[in-house]
């Protein structure tokens, strides 16, 4: 049964695709790729700027927090009385850690990481590899 119907369908001549269709497809894909790159660049630029300003703001806050925490006194102790420090290093370490402005530090590092990441992605987007090479 299938052979006779296959024979029938073999008689159908396919309409060849028009000249220029391949090129039209490439053009559309390249236009789409450019559009995607523009959107991505916009996102990464916004993220870089926002995180950059955020870093400056958080760094200022962090410095104030560090000053208020008394951590500079601990640091000066390292320089001035190293011997005592070595004897009581465990207690010193614990006290030092407790005095750190953890929240501020975490926020600053997180925003800093976002800044670096968005900057790296932006650079990657700006110099894309060749999208399509076609014959």
């Amino acid at each position: 049964m299938n052979d006779t119907y296959q024979k029938l369908f073999n008689m159908i001549e396919e309409t060849p695709f028009p000249q220029g269709l391949k090129e039209a497809i490439w053009k559309k894909i390249e236009a789409e790729a450019k559009k995607q790159r523009r959107i991505q660049m916009g996102m990464y630029i916004s993220a870089s700027f926002a995180s950059g300003f955020g870093m400056v703001f958080l760094f200022t806050l962090l410095l104030k927090s560090l000053a208020a925490s008394g951590i500079y006194e601990y640091l000066s102790l390292i320089v001035s009385d190293g011997g005592t420090l070595i004897s009581f290093w465990k207690e010193f370490a614990l006290t030092f850690m407790e005095s750190l402005p953890v929240l501020g530090l975490t926020a600053f590092l997180a925003v800093g990481a976002l800044f670096l990441w968005s900057g790296a992605r932006l650079l990657r987007t700006v110099r894309p590899s060749v999208l399509i090479v076609h014959s």
Partner: protein, 183 residues
């Protein structure tokens, strides 16, 4: 050495841009022919083919390598065609569709082979085209994908989003309609 579709996709995702070019070269004739059969218009077939390959490019990283690429490609082409025809308000894909194929699979017998004398007629080629145009879009899709593109009923089922039994039912109806028209 010709690469398989999976190899070409893998190469493209690894950064070989020529691989996607090869994919398009390989499948564009079949996709265009398929879409043209559904729309009957060369300009529309061109537009839809372009749109289909752009969609393939956009979603290539999400392609499931366990799935046959041709099946995936034709699914995109068919859906794009449906969207296009819906906008033109010419969609009749729901016509003669049946949700359950089992009942009809039993009721419709396999069409008998076409008589040899049919192929001796000079005007048979023109009649075949006319016969195809009497089929509904879904029926046309099934027989074209089966006979021209070599897809199995299971693959066709994935393309049209229907069960294998429904596809077989539409296939039998299509052949019966073709036979009736040609005799």
């Amino acid at each position: 050495m010709e690469h398989t579709d999976s190899e070409l996709i893998h190469d493209y995702l690894k950064g070989d841009s020529r691989a996607f070019s090869s994919l398009v070269d390989k499948h564009l004739p079949a996709v265009y022919a398929f879409v043209y059969r559904l729309t009957g218009n060369k300009d529309e077939a061109s537009d839809i083919s372009q749109e289909s390959f752009v969609k393939v490019w956009k979603n290539i990283s999400r392609y499931d390598h366990n799935q046959n690429f041709k099946t995936w490609l034709f699914t995109i082409a068919r859906n794009t065609t449906i969207d296009f025809l819906r906008k033109r308000r010419e969609i009749v894909f729901s016509k003669m569709e049946y949700e359950e194929g089992e009942g009809f699979g039993v009721a419709i017998p396999d069409p008998e082979p076409l008589p040899d004398v049919l192929f001796e007629k000079k005007e048979i080629k023109e009649k075949v085209e006319g016969a195809l145009n009497t089929l509904s879009p879904d029926q046309k899709t099934v027989v074209i994908l089966h006979y021209k593109d070599g897809l199995t009923f299971e693959q066709i089922g994935k393309v049209v989003g229907k069960s294998v039994n429904t596809v077989k039912s539409q296939y039998r109806r299509s052949l019966a309609s073709l036979r009736k028209y040609l005799e």
